[in-house]
Symmetry: C2
Subunit: 650 residues, 2 copies
């Protein structure tokens, strides 16, 4: 079901009901771009990964949100899907004005898939973060409580005759019986302000004056005849109610996001890190620069997340799945030994397989749900069970290895496959990884030659004269450093030392200021939050708080033992008093910046703009592909390789 | 005439002919946003103005370009208009990938005016700057000259059976007679690379393998049967020709912009500073941070510019034009004592008055041209002449006061009404302007009270506790400083000192690095130019140079006396040897940054996001309005005021 601002209000209860009765929810999102600036390297830590996306991806806009609720039908013993495809566009007034980045190739791609940008801009549903909502709500309350306290302006000489002319026309309008309303157009803002003042003073008991925005965005003054003096009050009340209605419309989709959060249900996505980050950042609160805070924040808002791309990368699926690109995965999981379940469309609100609307967020969510169900059924059958429904404690055990791990597509092959939202991340050794600087004229073969005595290597080029190189024979790491120490044409620096040096090369102060200025520029209404560097919110912004344990997801069955996080009725995140206090701003900002500047080298050996085109999602098939080949010392030219997609392949 | 990528190539000669035969050209443009970050203040210098727009406006995209050629018809003794409305979108490959900013309210506004964003993204014409064109042209030449020099990759074990399977299918396809072409889909980039290599090696004389991008952006490999061995060469030549064709398409609209520049004709716009800046920045070269270089650059590319908004602000129009908003101006100039000329549409390519397509760039250009002709006729009639045609030396004299001055809408009322492209800018005194810091609880009336003994004042609020205040009685400037020196509740700092202090408060180094990083991030392909900080280009980027004197615009009739600037055949800018050398990078960057940080205070007393919404163009009627009122010391509350448009007025 397509949801725009035209049917959002009516559809909201329906959406709420779908979330309420679902066994699990699936989400997907489309953005105006994927990544701006340098990409992650294949050896980055989960924290580096997060920081890179935070800096490079969050200035894009989330423009389509797919939500697919899988609801169990006890009669057919099958799932039905109730799907919603939301167009999202925060158009300002009464919501916040948004500055956002676009990537031309992303828009071009979406347009080629049939994405309707006119519908987006004209009919997209608004949204805002919670701090913004709180602030604007206060402003409106405040503004409505002040009545006519504006200072009177003396009409400048040059405007006097014009103002008098209009007043005369209004007098005539009030005296005749032809119509009840009159519009005054072609005034600039200052003239409107003067007229508002003069007409209000002169015709207080006869007319009600208000501003009106026409379809074409022109502003006019609307004058309405009053039948009685008391009618002023009615019209004023109506006007205030209308303002609140418009405000609620501007909060818009955030309400859906918060319902999903409040449900506490299993939320599934495919390669969902970016989707989760954008969801938090646009509908809840600005993402914290501090990585630990992000993990807490994400887990508190979405206590049970499951990434089907991560799931498909583990046994027993790993060996049977050649490509985890979503539509490839769907085909694989519909063939033996797997089988796709039926999940009929509920009352025409959902999708069917024949829809073929790939890259529509709602449809991709639906397909992700089918993939999940196929894998779930396969897991159950391996335990000798035949179980189509996803629920109950048995499933908690079944799904435990996959829950609350966000897939890291670009580092997965280097033993850093996920962000663990409920525990420590993997910390693979990087002792066998080096930063290599080499002469500009060197080609790949020269690097192969250099390392020919040290077995198989993995190479990621950073620029024309540097690359990251990993040995497969980790035992030779120390040997190679000693061996190359006297080689004056190259320099080899252990990866961790290289990262530390990169960080030191720029003063911390500079970086911190730069980041906060950039952030403030793009997010004028969230500066205060960003500066504090954590995700807690000022007391004023906290409505009645509803405590909900997140234990159900973290340990599946021992809620009492878990520390509690609080989420408010609108899904707000707050660390409880019993928790360790959030990290201090200073330390947090510094830590974050250390991550921020892992490398000062660009990642563009082949094509300078490539790094801006890629997404964790591989649907554009432009993701970095780095492969390892066995090294054959007889034919050094044939093997050691690292690949990046680039024009030159095609 | 609407021009998209579908008809651009065929239309180009027609457009060239229109430019060729026009007496003058009119331009207008639409953008994805107007201003990000702080706005100019009403006391800013032209240089501050430029720097603010450079930092806040140039990351937006130019998405529609209107070009209206006014051509004289000697039979009817009237002008005809030949107008072109271009949709512009640089979609990447083979052009550069673009990262650009959008302002949600601007898109919302354009959509309400009927702007077609789907057409924009699907059919927009590409464009690129000259340095980018040069670089990409070299890359393509280079790539095409290298033949099959790719290193061979050993096929990884896990991909071997898949690759062999495909090779078998291709063998079968080659053996049968069913079809001439075969497509291989659902391969990721790496598999495509392997197949390209393997198929090329195994079927070299039987098949031609190439990459193909489908309508839906999926990439496939296309295998074509070869009839003879020599056909490889033909197909390869065809492929290369196609690549060049696609490249020329990607250069796209830049060719039109350069034709306009090359024509050296009078180019007219309404409130055209932003249009000129975007035109230079998108189609020629990245704008220089140095203001003097900008003036030289703009004048060299467009030797005769005329801004109708500036023209209408001077005598004899000033007193007769109440509002210079474009459509208001049109109405004013069609009534006595003015009259609008006829300017028929040529062969249906132009507009007529009944079109009413306000805010379509082409239509706005047409209307601007009509306004210009009306004012031109009025000037001529004041000299007792009846002359409909704009040409010849008489017009040079007539138009001299208006030519090469770009209107500065926001500072015009403070004696800084234009940027003079061919001479020194106005340098109005700011001795009577002060930066005032006051207690948070103060209202406007408190400021009025404070200055009640010093005559009329003009106030522009910067934030809750500071404002800029100007005395109309300049003779009292020194008195007021002395009088307020002992007032501990406020502080009053002369404007120029305040600016100097603001600049010093941040270290130059930090700022410079920050700016260049931000720039590099958004303009990955123009970093080198930006860093050099001037607009000259590397020798490699200079085709045959065509010297053209700019004297015709600067002094109307004494070309030999003027120093020459060079523009290349494609309109490139270059300072000649005989010119003073461009300013050094270091100095330039520093100067620019000094401008960049004129104030550390935000300009948002009423509404925090307001400053991001405004444009020099007043068509959205949201421009700052600052008025002066006479001060009446008996009623201090009624007069001294400065206004900003804000929600609270409506």
């Amino acid at each position: 079901m397509e949801i725009t601002r035209k049917n959002f209000k009516e559809a909201l209860p329906l959406i709420g009901a779908s979330i309420e009765k679902a066994d699990f929810l699936v989400m997907d999102a489309e953005f105006t771009g994927l990544l701006n600036g340098r990409d992650v390297t294949i050896f980055d830590s989960p924290q580096d990964y997060y920081t890179t996306l935070l800096n490079g991806a969050t200035d894009f806009l989330l423009i389509q949100y797919g939500l697919c609720a899988f609801c169990w039908n006890d009669d057919t013993k099958q799932y039905t899907n109730e799907s919603y495809n939301f167009y999202l566009f925060p158009r300002g007034r009464p919501g916040p004005e948004k500055m956002f980045l676009c990537q031309s190739s992303s828009l071009d791609f979406l347009a080629a898939q049939g994405f309707d940008f006119n519908k987006l801009i004209k009919e997209g549903i608004s949204y805002m973060t919670e701090p913004t909502e709180t602030r604007l709500r206060e402003n409106l309350t405040d503004r409505q409580s002040r009545t006519n306290d504006k200072e009177s302006i003396t009409i400048p000489e040059e405007n006097r005759s014009y103002i008098e002319g209009i007043c005369k026309k209004v007098r005539e309008f009030l005296n005749d019986d032809k119509s009840e309303e009159m519009e005054i157009d072609r005034c600039n803002a200052f003239i409107r302000r003067l007229l508002f003042q003069e007409l209000g003073a002169r015709f207080k008991n006869e007319a009600f004056v208000e501003s009106k925005v026409l379809e074409n965005k022109n502003r006019v003054l609307k004058v309405t005849k009053l039948k009685s003096v008391s009618e002023v009050k009615d019209l004023d009340t109506q006007k205030k109610e209308k303002e609140w209605e418009e405000f609620e419309e501007a909060v818009g989709f955030s309400k859906v996001a918060r319902m999903i959060s409040q449900s506490g249900k299993l939320v599934i996505g495919h390669n969902m890190l970016l989707d989760v980050m954008h969801t938090l950042n646009h509908f809840f609160q600005p993402l914290p620069p501090d990585y630990a805070s992000f993990k807490e924040f994400a887990h508190c808002m979405f206590p049970r997340l499951l990434d089907t791309k991560y799931m498909s990368s583990l046994p027993p699926f790993k060996d049977k799945v050649n490509s985890s690109v979503l539509n490839h995965l769907l085909i694989t999981l519909s063939e033996a030994p797997f089988s796709l379940p039926e999940a009929e469309s509920e009352s025409g609100r959902g999708y069917t397989r024949s829809d073929e609307k790939a890259h529509e967020a709602g449809y991709d969510a639906y397909v992700t749900g089918l993939c999940f169900l196929s894998m779930h059924a396969h897991l159950a059958s391996m335990r000798g069970e035949r179980r189509a429904r996803v629920a109950g404690s048995a499933d908690s055990v079944l799904l435990k290895p996959f829950v609350n791990k966000l897939f890291l597509a670009k580092t997965a092959h280097q033993d850093s496959p996920y962000i663990n939202l409920t525990g420590a991340d993997p910390t693979p050794s990087r002792d066998h990884v080096f930063h290599l600087t080499f002469p500009k004229e060197w080609q790949r073969n020269d690097i192969n030659q250099l390392f020919s005595a040290y077995g198989q290597i993995t190479v990621q080029f950073l620029d024309d004269t540097s690359a990251l190189v990993a040995l497969s024979r980790k035992d030779l790491a120390k040997t190679v450093v000693r061996a190359f120490a006297s080689n004056s044409r190259i320099s080899l620096v252990p990866y961790l030392r290289y990262k530390a040096l990169s960080n030191k090369s720029a003063s911390q102060l500079e970086r911190r200021e730069e980041a906060s200025e950039k952030f403030a520029k793009l997010h004028p209404d969230s500066t205060a939050i960003a500066r504090r560097g954590n995700v807690s919110i000022p007391p004023a912004a906290r409505p009645a708080e509803v405590s909900r344990s997140r234990a159900q997801s973290a340990s599946h069955g021992a809620p009492a033992a878990q520390p509690a996080r609080k989420r408010t009725s609108s899904g707000m995140f707050q660390v409880e008093d019993s928790e360790p206090p959030p990290k201090k701003t200073e330390g947090t900002a510094e830590n974050a910046k250390e991550q921020n500047n892992v490398t000062v080298l660009s990642n563009g050996r082949r094509k300078r703009t490539d790094s801006g085109k890629e997404k964790a999602k591989e649907r554009k098939k432009e993701t970095d592909i780095v492969i390892k080949c066995s090294f054959n010392s007889d034919k050094p030219g044939e093997c050691v390789s690292a690949f990046k997609e680039s024009d030159s392949w095609d």
